[in-house]
Point group: C2
Chain length 330, copies 2
Amino acid sequence: MLAAAKVRPETSKLVAETLVCAELWGHQSHGLLRLPWYLERIATGATDRTAEKEIVIDGGAIAVLDGHNGIGQDIAHTAMSEAIRRSKAHGVGVVSVRRSGHFGTAMYFTRMAAEAGCIGIITTNASPAMAPWGGREKKIGNNPWSIGAPTRKGPMVMDIANTVVARGKIFNAIKKGENIPDDWAIDSSGAPTVNPEEALKGLIQPLAAHKGYVISVMMDVLSGVLSGSAFMANVVGPYMPKGQSGVGHLVIALNVNAFRPYEDFLDDMDVMVDQIKSTPLAVGFDEIFYPGELETRNAERHQIDGVSLPTETVEQLNKYADGLGARRLT
Amino acid sequence: MLAAAKVRPETSKLVAETLVCAELWGHQSHGLLRLPWYLERIATGATDRTAEKEIVIDGGAIAVLDGHNGIGQDIAHTAMSEAIRRSKAHGVGVVSVRRSGHFGTAMYFTRMAAEAGCIGIITTNASPAMAPWGGREKKIGNNPWSIGAPTRKGPMVMDIANTVVARGKIFNAIKKGENIPDDWAIDSSGAPTVNPEEALKGLIQPLAAHKGYVISVMMDVLSGVLSGSAFMANVVGPYMPKGQSGVGHLVIALNVNAFRPYEDFLDDMDVMVDQIKSTPLAVGFDEIFYPGELETRNAERHQIDGVSLPTETVEQLNKYADGLGARRLT
């Protein structure tokens, strides 16, 4: 479908891979569900499929990358590749990204870093989803951030948004016709709601109250303000078919081997994983997972058993496939 | 008292300043209350007041600093100074710190960066305070982290620990005979509890459930594992009079002017602050604060009105002053 929408072949392949990875990891809210939104923005030109990424500052350990409103996955992939490359020369590589777009799942890029022997950090801003603490108007995105590190068992990786839940899970609840827990959001009148449609019209709460608020503001400073991109209420989200996104990112790669011998680091990561896994279980738990372990295990299972897509997602994708003259899913 | 305990004059002055700053900012839990703990560890030699910090890797944009079990504030101050200095040459400066000690309030060091025109990031690990998600044994510290950025109105700064609540709030609930929310703590079997007495026998939960768990683990990877310091259950806290701390930190400074013109950045930070402050208020709020604003305002007020110390803290400090032959507070 992306190729049929005249997205460059290598970018089509990358976007497809990131969406399928999200499905494999069990993050369906960041999976194929999102493709129609991307296609809409490409169709209107809000996302420019012909954009040429440009390194506007090339400062050795650091760089500033202007995405020129292109496809977020492509821009973030270039940014992380550049950060890794620079970290191999300087110990650290930092790429500040302006005028990018929604890049999908942050974990895809920090896993890249981990696989290259680096600790990877990525932050992004996002369209307004929350109020500043004490306010009642959307001003701040959920501004996801991810940190990934290598272990001998695969990447250890966290990937969180600063809302109490990711926005995609509310879309998923709508798709599945389910209610949401009453502490996820307030409606436009300020009352707690279990209705996901009302939640989308209202406000999602920050995680851990004021703590999620201050984290999200600082992630916007790192992502939007440092890069000279849009920030706060001026970021346009992937759900809007029109309007340049203005999303910014910060990408950091730390080359582990520049700080200490890589095998020593991996030995200690083994010890850390063992300490986590061997902790006595709390009531109601069968196993303790290190960050990212569940995703790795889901991917192993899904690669054998396949991934189940909700009927609505399949129907929606086929509608777009028909419109573009691309192959249907079923 | 620090000078009487034979701590070097410049280090005594720095530790005193960080403790008084915490009082001025309204963070009394990180203020003078902590001095007796530091003095105990210095007296036993667990904290080595004669330690010579050593840059063991000097890699241009990055460095590894070995604190040789010295005084945490002194080591973190050197690390942030080095990170800032390196960022002025390379755009970014990263200092990984091993064998440090409790450094007090993280915000002190990120404010240093902001005042030098940098975005500062500091992470630390800490003695075990939480179980991995799904476990019931202390394995992970609350691992505080802070990000600070310059604005024309003073630093914008966040500084949080990854537990949902401070232990003192559970003591307060016992005093008042109140239940606690069910996401604050687990009892000794690992089941969530609303009974504060049971909570004290059990464990404090991470903030935002599994999210705080994964954040805290990754902060330990950055702080303890990358630096080759202690990590997880092997970190010794400041409340223990004996045992080398083994605390590690990661310190990052991003020189704003290397990414975009500094005045443009400050212009955008003004816009960000205005967007936050002008948000319509939610019921029950009088004002919205940007991250760090409350501390700046508290400090302005306290510098005029003075700081009130609890009687218990004064008595405790005077006991140590007498023991060291130092001047009493009152």
